[in-house]
Symmetry: C2
Subunit: 445 residues, 2 copies
Amino acid sequence: MSVSELEGYHGEILRRLKTANAKVGDIVKITTMTGEVFEGALFPRSEYGDPNHIVLKLKNGYNVGIHFQRTEKIEVVGGGQKPHFTRPSPPPKQPGLPRVAIISTGGTIASRVDYRTGAVQPALTAADLASVVPELANIAEVEADILFSELSENVTPSQWKTLAEDISRRITEGVSGVVVSQGTDTMHYTAAALSFALQHLPVPVLLVGAQRSSDRPSSDAASNLTGAVAMAANADLGVVGVTMHQDLSDRYIVAHRGTRVRKCHTSRRDAFKSINSNPLARYDLHTRQIEYFESPPRRRSDHNFSLKPEFDHHAYLLKFYPGFDPQIIDAVIKAGARGLVLEGTGLGHVSKYCYDSIRNAVKNDVPVFMTSQTIWGRVDLNVYVTGRDLLNLGVVPLEDMIPETALVKLMWVLGQTRSIDKVHGLMLQPIAGEITERTTITEAA
Amino acid sequence: MSVSELEGYHGEILRRLKTANAKVGDIVKITTMTGEVFEGALFPRSEYGDPNHIVLKLKNGYNVGIHFQRTEKIEVVGGGQKPHFTRPSPPPKQPGLPRVAIISTGGTIASRVDYRTGAVQPALTAADLASVVPELANIAEVEADILFSELSENVTPSQWKTLAEDISRRITEGVSGVVVSQGTDTMHYTAAALSFALQHLPVPVLLVGAQRSSDRPSSDAASNLTGAVAMAANADLGVVGVTMHQDLSDRYIVAHRGTRVRKCHTSRRDAFKSINSNPLARYDLHTRQIEYFESPPRRRSDHNFSLKPEFDHHAYLLKFYPGFDPQIIDAVIKAGARGLVLEGTGLGHVSKYCYDSIRNAVKNDVPVFMTSQTIWGRVDLNVYVTGRDLLNLGVVPLEDMIPETALVKLMWVLGQTRSIDKVHGLMLQPIAGEITERTTITEAA
């Protein structure tokens, strides 16, 4: 057996795989010290992977890394097929198509590369993309680049700034639309951030990700990317959106408004939902038509386009619950909070045991805002005595803004001004469709 | 004008209402200093109400209290009807019906009383109930009592204990079922708490509330209560549930499992949803039939029924987000946390910037558990490198348990044992349907 048949494995781990006569691509069964059994195709390891893990691709499509010290027994149970690493050549560019910039920041969607490294260390080139989704070449002239490679849970507000600046540069260069690939975990936070940072957008800026990697039969990577690029190229939208599966049918890729979207399932392809609003538009993968919901913001001439990429991370989001310890509020004030979003219950309540800490926050010039952990609906502090108490303490209710967007908006607002009055004013001023004016509560609502 | 026509108002406020020639029940228009205009029926004030507010019942059904110092102008714009406070006599008891205990703890559902006091200071007697919902007398022999009167956002874990003890006493006395009326804000937390505290339940224990008070045309108070009492009396359930509207049709009252339910809208009647599970059963208000979903826990002989009402409030729930300050974790450890539930992103992730604080928590014998802020779905720390890192740090993923239930369970588990190993074991052991064994991830899931 040649070493290349166990590509990337070293030392003790290589010795044990050789002893078991295992080759990359073989179906291998590993029994651990604690009696767990894993069966799947043996992966090659890249230099990025943790050298102490054997990586298997399980039948359910997920990759698993098993520390070799946990390994009791390794058996080859079937000769697999060596995964093919050769890429088809990208199809030739077609002149005259709209230019679309794809900016890669990481995540499952770039998982063809993930497949080769055996870990989510995403990277994406135009050639990768074209070979994963050859039909993109018929839709747009794609310019793909890697801006950074980060699991989305590690993306920070300062990276939102970097991303907003990069997108702004691409727009100024004249692209017809921008697609940002990112991990889905915090994609809705990034989408909200870009919605505030990129104002009067002349073209669509669409975030896209995948819930299942592209080497799984049920992957949504190619279809999501196709929908995103098609809408970035052609949709009459001047707004930030999140483009993912509408449902499990594999027919519609829907664009949700960046400030109104939330990941509502850990693993489903249709995990992203528009909250308290309709989506912007959807792309029909069969007919290739774009359909609009209500009246989304349209493309416009770009002379008002402005970049406001500053975020102040001294904003805190705290979720209230029975038994909530008000000391947490005191602690974040002490830690230097410049603003606080509460995720209250129901119409926007916290217990009376929090009043002293809230009063103290307001006294320390920390503005306090109220949202609801119900997620759907609108807060209203005028219905119950608790709400009125909170208003009297100076808490500002954020209408139908979802908590995640409220937090991101507060970071952005604090990046624009340090005046408390201006912070209050900006938080309640609709900037990117994140808040709708209160209307009479109807029974159907 | 007699003073009784302005019942409950005093001092300056009484003087101004007299000047405006306003009587209780009149349609009054109030213009505030800041130009806001409120129009609605003038309420009488009770001794419980804040004496500085004029209370109007708005056309949309909500009550609003306006501080008299904010009042610029008071006009009578229509003679209203004096709300009638006379109660119909409760219908005579019918012998032979199942006995159902109704325990009132507060909230909107007792809003006939709210209507009289002009503020949510709930109180409920059997006579009140029978007059609000006369048909209850045909369903069960109702024994109603007030245990406490608390807005649900103020209910504490120690009140869960009081409530569990009271329910246990009623069950031992031989009732066929128990209904607990509570405010809806934290009803799902209470339901989870009772699910763990009342084990091997012989009869149904159903929480009920209302999203709209009983004096509004669209009120759900009577129908929710009817459904709850009917199911408490007759449903073959031995489990804690939350009984509220299934949808907006006013036909079905659905019982959600206490550990699987969540308030998902600030104001809709069908705000409560079963998460990651089917509801238990539903009551058809038209046909009066009960229909079961799958196989809920059934009534059983009560010799195994046990009360375990201790909760330790030193459990904390923290929601992660981009820019999350790990100092919050340090602060709760310092504040005396004995356990921590994280609401991570996606499959159950937090950023690498939190690793040190998590390591420190675990080192301080504070068990750390992972749930997901997506709400729906199952956490899985084996898919991505972040998850594997968190496992290595000692974080325990809680499968498909929702964050709110996980927090309540942790409070309950810490009330049973201080052994870290036992805490870990109990948290993963299914006790009240709160967690389901991991199955192969199917594409439809």
